[in-house]
């Protein structure tokens, strides 16, 4: 139960403003979710793997972490600490080993990939965005979420977006009704989830289908038959983002498109400050229909 915003830039000149624009959009929807907030932001894909981790005791955990990790992997490591998150950059070939090492140190993996960074925490969108300096971040596309938890815990890990594969993420407004069975089926296939959150199951379902060879479009189509309950999903990948609503489609969703961007919002309010919104094409995504924008 939440507010979702998404912004996919078509014009490169706007890229430096992405974090600023998305933060404005997200703060507008604060009322839809006072518990926690999170942002997935995608920048130009590089050669390296970026791993975003979170710690409840960042001073202790992040102190000298880059050196320790560098020694363990036998390769160069850079680290940028942002509040209780750190973005760690390692050569792509060492990515999996780095994630494993960071997990054994008790750090929570928010995201990994060549482009994605995820920042999330409990609190209001304004405070969370401030904590991580989201306004100053640039990129090609981004997804934000503000959460009113239904049945799972209000924690950093329980906040959206959920990332269950490199450069993929998912946010959700609604409530799934068969996620426990889906979680068990995924677990049998070796797909791990970290929380009791229904959305994480949705994310893991999509990642699992993709890893089995499905396209993102096919995986999103699959949510319509395999996931039950109410959902508006927005999913991000390295190259774009997609939207799908359940067949009943009673959780709100609005989209806007201009020559400069495609925007998603749970409510129109989120768009009020976007440039050119008065002449944008504004519409509601149809139920049980997959939408996708890719560069």
């Amino acid at each position: 139960m939440c507010g979702i915003v998404g912004l996919f830039l078509k014009r490169d000149e706007l890229r430096p403003q992405l974090g600023d624009m998305l933060t404005d959009m997200l703060v507008k929807l604060t009322d839809r979710g006072p518990d926690s907030a999170g942002i997935a932001i995608y920048s130009q894909p590089g050669e390296d793997m970026k791993i975003t981790v979170q710690s409840d005791t960042p001073e202790a955990d992040f102190d000298g972490l880059d050196g320790t990790l560098s020694d363990a992997l036998g390769t160069g490591v850079t680290m940028r600490v942002v509040g209780n998150h750190a973005v760690i950059r390692v050569p792509a070939a060492s990515g999996a080993a780095a994630v494993a090492h960071l997990e054994t140190r008790g750090l929570r993996i928010m995201s990994a990939g060549t482009s994605i960074e995820i920042f999330k925490d409990v609190g209001l969108p304004r405070d969370v965005a401030e904590r991580f300096g989201i306004r100053g971040m640039g990129g090609s596309h981004a997804i934000g979420h503000t959460r009113m938890a239904t049945e799972s815990a209000v924690t950093t890990l329980g906040a959206h977006p959920f990332s269950t594969a490199p450069d993929q993420c998912l946010v959700h407004n609604g409530s799934l009704s068969n996620h426990n069975n889906v979680r068990r089926r995924l677990a049998k296939k070796g797909v791990r989830t970290r929380t009791d959150n229904d959305t994480e199951v949705g994310a893991a379902y999509i990642s699992s289908r993709i890893s089995e060879g499905a396209s993102l479009g096919e995986a999103l189509e699959g949510t319509l038959s395999d996931l039950d309950g109410f959902f508006t999903f927005v999913t991000g990948t390295r190259d774009g983002f997609g939207v799908v609503r359940d067949p009943i489609a009673c959780k709100p969703a609005v989209m806007a498109e201009t020559d400069d961007y495609v925007a998603f919002g749970s409510e129109y309010r989120a768009f009020a400050d976007l440039p050119g919104i008065d002449t944008a094409r504004v519409w509601e995504p149809e139920p049980a229909t997959v939408y996708f924008w890719e560069r």
């Binding site: 709100p252 409510e267 309010r269 768009f271």
Partner: protein, 227 residues
């Protein structure tokens, strides 16, 4: 003409000001600027004042309207004119879900499209949509009239009671217990009157009429699959 700017005036003051107008008031023309998607704008008005909203609104604009004329020069979020009792609400742009939900009376005109569940559970309201309506429109509609100049989505009029539906374009599918019905002179007259009041440019003869087959009015085991 009185003006309320939501960039500087909060929602409570806007609504309280409008609600405080009585039929004796001579301040009958109001303008609201900068709604910027705000919720519950111009709700619960019960005097025949005229309010123009310059911009788009969020949920429940003109909710429970009873006699006012509210004109939104933009689009509206979910539940515009929900449970309207009387009066007129005009939307220049599109309407989100549940437009005119449970409305008991008055006229709602949407010049753009309305999305899903337009006229859900309507109880006497008249709704004219100049564009198209989404799925499950007029679900459980009890009374009143829904006129659609464009197309209707899936399951139009599902579990319909006595509301009358007129659609000019295509209907993707009819819901349970909703059937096409003969267009008689009385229906053409009713339609002509509504189209005129809504300022809609269409001929009554171009429409088809849909209504309840009344098969679900009394439980019958042979229709159990429709419940």
């Amino acid at each position: 003409m009185q003006s309320l700017d939501m960039a500087t005036t909060d929602l409570r003051e806007v609504n309280a000001t409008l609600q405080a107008q009585t039929s004796a008031s001579n301040q009958t023309e109001w303008v609201i600027d900068n709604p910027r998607g705000a919720h519950a704008v111009a709700v619960g008005l019960d005097t025949p004042i005229s309010v123009t909203v310059r911009g788009s609104t969020g949920y429940y604009c003109a909710g429970m309207n009873a006699g006012a004329t509210i004109h939104v020069q933009g689009s509206v979020g979910p539940g515009v004119a929900e449970n309207m009792m009387s009066g007129t609400v005009i939307v220049d742009g599109d309407a989100s879900q549940y437009a005119g939900a449970t409305g008991h009376g008055g006229l709602l005109v949407i010049r753009g499209n309305a999305s899903s569940r337009c006229g859900i559970s309507m109880k006497g309201i008249d709704i004219v949509v100049q564009g198209s309506v989404g799925h499950m429109s007029a679900f459980m509609a009890q009374k009143g009239t829904l006129v659609v100049l464009g197309d209707a989505g899936d399951a139009l009029g599902d579990s319909l009671y006595e509301a009358r539906l007129f659609v000019r374009g295509s209907v993707k599918s009819l819901g349970a217990d909703c059937v096409e019905k003969e267009m008689r002179a009385e229906h053409l007259d009713r339609l002509a009157d509504l189209l005129e009041r809504a300022g809609a440019d269409a001929k009554p003869s171009e429409f088809r009429r849909y209504g309840s087959a009344r098969r679900l009015y009394h439980f019958n085991i042979d229709h159990a699959d429709q419940y």
